[in-house]
Symmetry: C2
Subunit: 389 residues, 2 copies
């Protein structure tokens, strides 16, 4: 068990009408607000008007950056940073899903430097400070509302890169589960696949785990498995939306990591997929994860799969270990593809083997992925191939 620092100071307002508290928090950080959002959905649902009224209530002046893309692009970061500099913005308010939040966080950092925003990813330029960021979440998936990470795409270089930086941690986030009532069945499913992947990336680890955190992760997994189908069937089920929302935050706010330092495996693979094909992140993860688990299974690590199968899927613990392990992967696939209804192969979403070799090499940035099981580019290629059928 490694040592660790836990330092998550984001203040969370959780529940119906959580957004009533926006003005209280905004006031703490200044007078000029950059409101960042994506397409028009927040206008349709009335959230835009609510947010504007809170900004007014706080006595703040509002500037806007709209049109932030799914898989947000570095151009949006540049554009936002330009507004921040020109208008002397004090605080950023992101309203949307993980893409909007990620983009806003990097705008907050880019606003504080003279160099190009992409340097944070191509040159790993220092992130010493950032403007304060507040977030209003409308999609339970990435956990961006309670962590200091963000993923940015660069269509020119076909890169999609995630990076953590302490100054990006939101100061406060407003989590109202009712704001996710209008999320479609498909996006709900993709979001849930994303949450599950965040947990499994940590759960399946090469090093010794902290028992307490493993039990917590199993609880999070059971939560998603229980409530995802309810939210899909009945989009305005508060209990389901609330559990999924809070689970999404805790799946990836560093708590579950508890000192584990291994690299994640499925995320770098998926980033290559969505960098080239611009697919939904959660869908890519859903297709990859069961194949990854199948590829990595061995006598050496079977115990972890047994915990997973017995504690999450209630598989009979008296069965032979390898059988439990295989059943656990089947159960996961059944959940992702039958219960959530996601496409189960890359072929079905129009991706073939054309770019597998180059994608595998890019995914293995430092020669290999040093994760649950060490993966060479050849291993990664094989996992991609397993996803074809």
């Amino acid at each position: 068990m490694n040592s660790f620092i836990y330092d998550v100071g984001t203040k969370i307002y959780f529940g119906k009408n959580a957004t009533d508290n926006i003005s209280t928090e905004l006031k703490k950080y200044g007078k000029k607000v950059l409101l960042c959002y994506g397409g028009g959905s927040i206008k349709k649902m009335g959230l835009y008007d609510k947010v504007i009224s809170e900004i007014k209530k706080a006595g703040c002046e509002v500037f806007e950056l709209s049109g932030i893309e799914p898989n947000p692009r570095v151009d949006s970061v540049r554009e936002g940073a330009k507004i921040c500099k020109e208008q002397n913005i004090d605080v950023l308010l992101a309203v949307g899903g993980g893409s909007t939040l990620d983009c806003t966080k990097w705008i907050a950092a880019a606003a504080k430097v003279d160099h190009d925003a992409w340097d944070f990813f191509s040159d790993w330029a220092d992130v010493n400070e950032a403007l304060p960021v507040l977030t209003v979440l409308t999609l339970s998936a990435t956990g961006s509302e309670m962590n200091c990470g963000g993923v940015i795409s660069n269509p020119e270089t076909k890169d999609k890169i995630g990076r953590l930086a302490k100054p990006l941690l939101p100061k406060a986030s407003f989590l109202d589960p009712t704001l996710t009532y209008s999320v479609s069945a498909y996006q709900t499913a993709c979001g849930c696949a994303d949450i599950i992947s965040h947990i499994l990336e940590v759960y399946f680890a090469p090093n010794k785990d902290m028992y307490m955190l493993d039990r917590f992760m199993e609880g999070l997994l059971k939560t998603v498995i229980k409530f995802a189908p309810i939210a899909i069937e009945k989009p305005d089920d508060y209990e389901a939306r609330a559990n999924l929302m809070w689970a999404s935050s805790w799946a990836i706010n560093t708590f579950v990591t508890g000192g584990k330092t291994h690299e994640w495996s499925c995320h770098p693979l998926e980033h290559e997929l969505s960098a080239i094909y611009d697919i939904t992140h959660g869908l890519g993860l859903a297709i990859l994860t069961p194949r990854f688990l199948e590829y990595c299974l061995s006598e050496n690590n079977v115990d972890k799969y047994v915990d997973f199968g017995v504690n999450v899927f209630d598989i009979d613990k008296n069965l032979p270990k390898m059988e439990i392990a295989k059943l656990s992967i089947e159960k996961l696939s059944d959940f992702l593809f039958n219960t959530l209804g996601l496409d189960d192969t890359l072929t079905k979403i129009g991706i073939d083997e054309t770019n597998f070799e180059i994608m595998a090499q890019k995914a293995c940035e430092y020669d290999c992925i040093n994760g649950f099981v060490k993966l060479s580019p050849k291993d990664v290629e094989k996992i991609f191939e397993m996803c074809l059928e």
Copy 2:
């Protein structure tokens, strides 16, 4: 499910040599440090020297308040506050178990006001600010290292009162599980009983629960049940001490509460016991909790006991509900009294019914305890009586 605010900004350094980071944190808060601790145990274990060297490394001047009691008294708070005012202390460093931490937190508040420290409890005087507090934990039990509460006793009035106040939240806490290696089997057992009680006070609730948090609480309970006997048997088992330490923080840092607003039940009863008889808090809770659960069990709330029995103690879920409920209480008693080896009756620790009536009335400060099940003073008296044999 109620709405809630989650706002726990304590920075945690967790692991071997976590105390190496004290100087880094101290520097942020000023030059004059009041070091607060209890008896001499931190000197025996070498921790005192380590802390002093960190304070020197930070370039700070050190003042000391030692001799803070178990069940810390308001006189110690007064004494600490006096030093803070006379010496213009900038930051407090608490080194010890929950009692030392609680006392230090209230010193931090008392240092900022002109009135007597007991007014915070007798008159519920406002707590608008406090000096910054850092903590080094040497006993896993109260969770004081990561919450804003503290319990203070007043021997003159025979009161023992706990109170939460946001400014008391430690800025940073240093959790090194090896610092609990020297905790005796008995104190380890009492600490574990305390952790379990914190969880059960929240778990058994009258209102609708958040599924995700219930699963987390079950994970915490399983963690304590697994590692308490290991820590007692082998005091320097790092994994056991680490799991117990981190579980103690999360059992009571408000995360598991998730919007529940009911009053706690066993804690007010125990506070009356230790206010009069000065017994160890965790021991009192251990004796009370199974009787409380037995007294409250009914057809209306049996489902909660079933969750507890099946998910924590692996009781066969196909048994009749009432049988599972009763078995779960038996399993809990078996753990507390046989596995942990704690005394199982008040009689065994020399307490008889003499003060039950008055204690019951004091415990029901506002006519009744409005908790899992509403308890009148008569109910409380009966629970005390059940603890006699």
